[in-house]
Amino acid sequence: MNWLKVFIAALFEVLWVIGLKHADSFWAWGGTVVSIVVSFYLLIMAGKRLPVGTVYAVFVGLGTAGTVIAGILFFEEPFKWSKIMLIGFLLAGIIGLKLVTEDKEEGVEA
Protein backbone atom coordinates (compact mmCIF):
# COMPACT_ATOMS: atom_id res chain seq x y z
CA MET A 1 0.00 0.00 0.00
CA ASN A 2 2.75 2.44 0.93
CA TRP A 3 4.76 1.72 -2.18
CA LEU A 4 1.62 2.24 -4.24
CA LYS A 5 1.39 5.73 -2.71
CA VAL A 6 4.95 6.46 -3.86
CA PHE A 7 4.19 5.23 -7.39
CA ILE A 8 1.02 7.32 -7.67
CA ALA A 9 2.88 10.32 -6.21
CA ALA A 10 5.47 9.93 -9.00
CA LEU A 11 2.70 9.75 -11.60
CA PHE A 12 1.35 13.08 -10.37
CA GLU A 13 4.91 14.43 -10.36
CA VAL A 14 5.13 13.67 -14.09
CA LEU A 15 1.84 15.54 -14.60
CA TRP A 16 3.02 18.66 -12.81
CA VAL A 17 6.45 18.70 -14.43
CA ILE A 18 4.68 18.63 -17.82
CA GLY A 19 2.26 21.25 -16.52
CA LEU A 20 5.03 23.62 -15.41
CA LYS A 21 6.50 23.42 -18.90
CA HIS A 22 3.39 23.38 -21.11
CA ALA A 23 0.42 24.79 -19.18
CA ASP A 24 -1.09 27.76 -20.99
CA SER A 25 -4.62 28.08 -19.69
CA PHE A 26 -6.37 28.57 -16.37
CA TRP A 27 -7.46 24.91 -16.23
CA ALA A 28 -4.04 23.58 -17.15
CA TRP A 29 -2.42 25.67 -14.41
CA GLY A 30 -5.14 24.63 -11.96
CA GLY A 31 -4.48 20.98 -12.78
CA THR A 32 -0.75 21.56 -12.31
CA VAL A 33 -1.22 23.02 -8.84
CA VAL A 34 -3.60 20.20 -7.85
CA SER A 35 -1.02 17.66 -9.08
CA ILE A 36 1.71 19.25 -6.97
CA VAL A 37 -0.47 19.08 -3.86
CA VAL A 38 -1.59 15.48 -4.51
CA SER A 39 1.94 14.25 -5.24
CA PHE A 40 3.42 15.80 -2.11
CA TYR A 41 0.52 14.64 0.03
CA LEU A 42 1.02 11.01 -1.09
CA LEU A 43 4.79 11.37 -0.68
CA ILE A 44 4.42 12.58 2.90
CA MET A 45 1.92 9.83 3.73
CA ALA A 46 4.21 7.14 2.32
CA GLY A 47 7.03 8.49 4.49
CA LYS A 48 5.01 7.64 7.57
CA ARG A 49 5.72 3.91 7.17
CA LEU A 50 8.76 3.81 4.88
CA PRO A 51 12.16 5.51 5.33
CA VAL A 52 11.78 9.04 3.91
CA GLY A 53 15.18 9.11 2.19
CA THR A 54 14.37 5.91 0.33
CA VAL A 55 10.89 7.09 -0.59
CA TYR A 56 12.18 10.42 -1.88
CA ALA A 57 14.85 8.76 -4.04
CA VAL A 58 12.22 6.47 -5.60
CA PHE A 59 9.85 9.41 -6.08
CA VAL A 60 12.52 11.48 -7.84
CA GLY A 61 13.73 8.51 -9.91
CA LEU A 62 10.31 7.42 -11.12
CA GLY A 63 9.28 11.01 -11.76
CA THR A 64 12.37 11.58 -13.89
CA ALA A 65 11.92 8.34 -15.85
CA GLY A 66 8.22 9.10 -16.40
CA THR A 67 8.95 12.64 -17.55
CA VAL A 68 11.57 11.43 -20.04
CA ILE A 69 9.21 8.75 -21.41
CA ALA A 70 6.32 11.24 -21.66
CA GLY A 71 8.67 13.65 -23.46
CA ILE A 72 9.54 11.02 -26.06
CA LEU A 73 5.95 9.79 -26.51
CA PHE A 74 4.01 13.05 -26.45
CA PHE A 75 6.35 16.00 -26.88
CA GLU A 76 8.63 14.96 -29.72
CA GLU A 77 11.77 14.82 -27.63
CA PRO A 78 14.45 12.66 -29.27
CA PHE A 79 14.53 8.93 -28.58
CA LYS A 80 17.97 7.77 -27.43
CA TRP A 81 19.09 4.31 -26.39
CA SER A 82 21.12 5.92 -23.60
CA LYS A 83 17.85 7.18 -22.10
CA ILE A 84 16.32 3.70 -22.15
CA MET A 85 19.46 2.22 -20.60
CA LEU A 86 19.47 4.75 -17.77
CA ILE A 87 15.77 4.13 -17.15
CA GLY A 88 16.47 0.39 -16.92
CA PHE A 89 19.28 1.06 -14.46
CA LEU A 90 16.99 3.30 -12.45
CA LEU A 91 14.18 0.73 -12.32
CA ALA A 92 16.64 -1.94 -11.19
CA GLY A 93 17.61 0.33 -8.30
CA ILE A 94 13.95 0.88 -7.37
CA ILE A 95 13.15 -2.84 -7.42
CA GLY A 96 16.24 -3.46 -5.29
CA LEU A 97 15.20 -0.82 -2.76
CA LYS A 98 11.70 -2.21 -2.58
CA LEU A 99 13.13 -5.65 -1.83
CA VAL A 100 15.40 -4.50 0.99
CA THR A 101 12.90 -2.12 2.61
CA GLU A 102 10.64 -3.25 5.38
CA ASP A 103 7.09 -1.95 5.06
CA LYS A 104 5.82 -1.05 8.52
CA GLU A 105 2.11 -1.58 7.88
CA GLU A 106 -0.27 -0.50 10.61
CA GLY A 107 -0.92 -3.17 13.20
CA VAL A 108 2.24 -5.15 12.61
CA GLU A 109 4.58 -3.03 14.69
CA ALA A 110 7.66 -4.97 15.68
Partner: protein, 104 residues
Amino acid sequence: MAWLSLILAGLCEMLGVLMINRVHKHRNWQSLALLVMAFGASFLFLALAMETLPMSTAYAIWTGIGASGGAIMGMFLYGEPKDLKRIVFIGMILGAAVGLKLIS
Protein backbone atom coordinates in the same frame (compact mmCIF):
# COMPACT_ATOMS: atom_id res chain seq x y z
CA MET B 1 25.29 33.85 -8.56
CA ALA B 2 23.34 31.27 -10.55
CA TRP B 3 25.47 28.49 -9.13
CA LEU B 4 25.00 29.81 -5.63
CA SER B 5 21.20 29.80 -6.11
CA LEU B 6 21.42 26.30 -7.49
CA ILE B 7 23.32 25.02 -4.47
CA LEU B 8 20.88 26.83 -2.16
CA ALA B 9 18.00 25.22 -4.08
CA GLY B 10 19.54 21.79 -3.52
CA LEU B 11 20.10 22.48 0.18
CA CYS B 12 16.50 23.69 0.62
CA GLU B 13 15.24 20.53 -1.08
CA MET B 14 17.35 18.46 1.29
CA LEU B 15 15.83 20.40 4.18
CA GLY B 16 12.37 19.72 2.74
CA VAL B 17 13.04 15.99 2.74
CA LEU B 18 14.12 16.23 6.38
CA MET B 19 10.92 18.13 7.17
CA ILE B 20 8.87 15.19 5.86
CA ASN B 21 10.49 13.22 8.67
CA ARG B 22 9.76 15.99 11.11
CA VAL B 23 6.09 16.12 10.15
CA HIS B 24 5.72 12.50 11.26
CA LYS B 25 7.58 13.08 14.51
CA HIS B 26 5.98 16.37 15.46
CA ARG B 27 2.52 16.57 14.02
CA ASN B 28 1.89 20.32 14.23
CA TRP B 29 1.43 23.29 11.94
CA GLN B 30 5.01 24.49 12.48
CA SER B 31 6.38 21.31 10.90
CA LEU B 32 4.04 21.61 7.95
CA ALA B 33 4.89 25.31 7.51
CA LEU B 34 8.63 24.48 7.55
CA LEU B 35 8.07 21.76 4.96
CA VAL B 36 6.15 24.05 2.61
CA MET B 37 8.70 26.85 3.10
CA ALA B 38 11.67 24.56 2.42
CA PHE B 39 10.26 23.19 -0.83
CA GLY B 40 8.93 26.63 -1.80
CA ALA B 41 12.35 28.22 -1.33
CA SER B 42 13.92 25.31 -3.19
CA PHE B 43 11.73 25.89 -6.27
CA LEU B 44 12.33 29.62 -6.10
CA PHE B 45 16.12 29.26 -6.07
CA LEU B 46 15.91 26.63 -8.82
CA ALA B 47 13.87 28.97 -11.03
CA LEU B 48 16.41 31.72 -10.35
CA ALA B 49 19.32 29.45 -11.30
CA MET B 50 17.52 28.36 -14.48
CA GLU B 51 17.44 31.94 -15.74
CA THR B 52 21.13 31.65 -16.61
CA LEU B 53 22.08 27.96 -16.39
CA PRO B 54 20.85 25.36 -18.90
CA MET B 55 17.68 23.74 -17.60
CA SER B 56 18.95 20.15 -17.80
CA THR B 57 22.16 20.92 -15.88
CA ALA B 58 20.34 22.89 -13.22
CA TYR B 59 17.69 20.23 -12.79
CA ALA B 60 20.23 17.39 -12.58
CA ILE B 61 22.38 19.09 -9.95
CA TRP B 62 19.36 20.15 -7.93
CA THR B 63 18.09 16.56 -7.81
CA GLY B 64 21.53 15.21 -7.01
CA ILE B 65 22.11 17.49 -4.03
CA GLY B 66 18.56 17.34 -2.71
CA ALA B 67 17.75 13.67 -2.91
CA SER B 68 21.14 12.27 -1.96
CA GLY B 69 21.53 14.86 0.79
CA GLY B 70 18.03 14.03 2.03
CA ALA B 71 18.81 10.32 2.10
CA ILE B 72 22.15 10.80 3.90
CA MET B 73 20.73 13.24 6.46
CA GLY B 74 17.75 10.93 7.06
CA MET B 75 20.16 8.15 7.92
CA PHE B 76 22.13 10.26 10.38
CA LEU B 77 19.44 12.45 11.92
CA TYR B 78 16.38 10.21 11.84
CA GLY B 79 17.93 6.77 12.18
CA GLU B 80 16.82 5.51 8.78
CA PRO B 81 18.38 2.15 7.88
CA LYS B 82 21.85 2.61 6.38
CA ASP B 83 22.75 -0.85 5.09
CA LEU B 84 25.16 -1.01 2.16
CA LYS B 85 22.58 -2.49 -0.26
CA ARG B 86 20.24 0.43 0.33
CA ILE B 87 23.02 2.96 -0.27
CA VAL B 88 24.00 1.20 -3.52
CA PHE B 89 20.39 1.13 -4.78
CA ILE B 90 19.78 4.78 -3.87
CA GLY B 91 23.05 5.62 -5.64
CA MET B 92 21.89 3.74 -8.76
CA ILE B 93 18.54 5.54 -8.84
CA LEU B 94 20.00 8.98 -8.31
CA GLY B 95 22.91 8.39 -10.68
CA ALA B 96 20.47 7.35 -13.40
CA ALA B 97 18.14 10.27 -12.63
CA VAL B 98 20.97 12.81 -12.82
CA GLY B 99 22.18 11.19 -16.08
CA LEU B 100 18.70 11.35 -17.60
CA LYS B 101 18.31 14.98 -16.68
CA LEU B 102 21.71 15.84 -18.14
CA ILE B 103 21.02 14.22 -21.52
CA SER B 104 17.38 15.29 -21.84
